[in-house]
Symmetry: C2
Subunit: 370 residues, 2 copies
């Protein structure tokens, strides 16, 4: 059994901005919503084709977990989709009377705004809702207690910034930057190593928690296979944010030393890297791996404004923790301007999202593994 | 299956004061903590003598629910006690290797401060923690998914104020009072009827959620069997609070009409009334019913101050919702004074707490009931 203190030590928490204010995640996650919509069809297909309803034989409810759920509403759309697709699967197999009750475990870091999540739960939901605080890089559920895991736009967050990139004596010290683009080779290597370690923790924990035959669907923002880090528009946008921070430092708005010690714990993986991690772990089979169609966002506001708002909703917590609240408006305004002045951005930068369906290996009739 | 909207409609939420400020429930629940301590021995005994570990045969984790958990820390002491006693039960039966993993469902109304609850979770806990928003007068868990239910000082809260007591045309209209003491007979009858209805909802929902053979332990503040409502010090204290509110109304601090429409949805039951409800419901056997030893509280502060602080922590949310934040200091100060001037209080008033152990009837080997 996993004691709580073991997992809580090595994880840092970067919750999305809570509440429902103008800069909140809830009001600035339309891009992520677009991802949920784009993933909907693939998710339904995965359930229709891959869900083995026999994994429920010895249970009378269907346990679903959404990992890194944030505060909603995106998580509710995803969960609704899963519940409907699973119901349809039972019905299409003539098991109408066997449609189980659903229990949904909404998971995110402990500092996540669960109060807001709970208040926003859809009134007409047909599932029992539960909140689970804690890092998904450790154990958060009992052995073999979950039938279906979903996680959208969450596992790109590392458990922490790699230690060496804030170590002045290390060749991987990331002075003057906040991410690994245009950094010494060692910085990207350190991020890669952290990703590898984290993903093994993630898969190891899920292998214990998911019943044999259970599914895990991961939607991941990443870079195309074979492309370098410098062609990922996610990485490019962090470079712009870092450059905006350094501008502030030069003007005396923030201390340069603070910028040196600030790094964004996000790794932009390729689907091949994810596949390699799954194969190293050995507990899951890869059932499918598909790129999502390109997500287009509402263009009633300018692209740069929207982009800056999304960046702010996602990064504000992290930036505030390090630099204080005062710099937020100026920083993200500067970021927006830099973005507007970067015509190369959409020409060279590539973002893809992919959806990966994994199945817990093992005999579906022997549900309780050790 | 119970749709969420059905249960959320008929329930009102009265969360304890969140956060950890000077008037918070977390810092003003030493009395309730005393109850938890007093109940500890009885609870451990109940688990040692009554827990049938065979109910876990087809499950590999032990699911515990604490209903009406508030924000902690009392819930953590109670849960820790249950987990330890259950472990000891397995070990004492030579089943060391079979000690299950524990998963604890912390339940309270949706507006409860779950963020604070999650932040206060003990670091060294040996269980998986989960938060469950929703009224325990409706379904909150899937069918047969819980092995052990605990609830301390929660089921005295009714699902809502009986409608007739705020109906000006009803003989049960409770003008000038906020509870049923010294009210027309019809008011107490309305509270009794609400209690009866609520308790049936409570037991009906739990009968579906708890596995056959599973236990439910309820700790309840009540009045002695055979004593009248007017001898309950809980009821007497609400009378004092009502009288303080009427004083404010007379001084123009609050509208008298508002006081007329304000009532406290708490019913002070006797253990016989609880037994009768359990028997009417029919799904549970009463394994034991015992009074708790008298709880003495820290006397480094004056009794009246402590009493007023506890009353405020429990009632502030309710009062604020109706009358606004401005009156709180004056009201509870007035309450404290009235309490000091009521020498009869501890002479005639009686509070008892009792602990009731129920077992879900049914064949322990047939876990999944419909």
């Amino acid at each position: 059994m996993a004691p709580a203190e073991e997992t809580s030590k090595f994880c840092e928490a970067y919750p999305m901005k809570g509440g429902d204010g103008p800069n909140s995640y809830a009001n600035n996650s339309t891009y992520q919503r677009g991802v949920v919509d784009a993933a909907k069809e693939l998710l339904s297909k995965a359930i229709a084709e891959k869900l083995d309803i026999d994994i429920l034989l010895s249970s009378n409810s269907f346990q679903i977990a959404d990992l890194g759920c944030s505060v909603g509403p995106n998580t509710f759309f995803a969960v609704q989709n899963i519940v409907e697709a699973a119901k349809f699967k039972f019905q299409s197999q003539g098991q109408d009377s066997q449609v189980p009750e659903f229990q949904v475990f909404f998971n995110d870091h402990t500092p996540n705004d669960f109060n807001m999540l709970f208040k926003s739960l859809p009134q007409n939901r047909r599932y029992y809702a539960v909140g689970v605080p804690g890092s998904f890089y450790g154990r958060i559920f009992p052995n073999a207690s979950i039938h279906f895991v979903h996680s959208s736009y969450a596992i790109q967050w590392l458990s922490s910034v790699p230690k060496v990139v804030v170590d002045k004596t290390s060749p991987a010290w990331n002075k003057g930057r906040i991410h690994y683009l245009n950094s010494p080779e060692e910085v990207a290597r350190a991020y890669e190593a952290q990703y590898t370690e984290d993903m093994e923790c993630f898969l190891h924990a899920r292998a214990q928690e998911i019943v044999y035959g259970g599914l895990m669907v991961l939607t991941v923002p990443g870079r195309p296979n074979g492309s370098s880090h410098s062609h990922s528009s996610i990485n490019m946008s962090f470079q712009l944010l870092g450059s905006a921070l350094m501008d502030l430092a030069r003007k005396g708005g923030v201390s340069e030393e603070k910028v040196d010690s600030f790094n964004i714990p996000i790794y932009c993986m390729s689907s091949q890297e994810l596949e390699a991690a799954v194969e190293r772990n050995g507990s899951f089979s890869i059932e499918s791996m598909e790129n999502l169609p390109h997500v287009s966002v509402d263009d009633t506001v300018s692209k740069s404004q929207l982009f800056a708002a999304h960046m702010r909703a996602g990064m504000e917590g992290l930036v505030k923790q390090k630099f204080g609240e005062e710099i937020l408006d100026e920083l993200f305004d500067l970021f927006r301007k830099k973005f507007e002045e970067a015509p190369f951005f959409f020409e060279t930068g590539k973002t893809i999202s992919f959806l990966c369906v994994l199945r817990r290996k093992g005999n579906g009739l022997c549900l309780y593994h050790n």
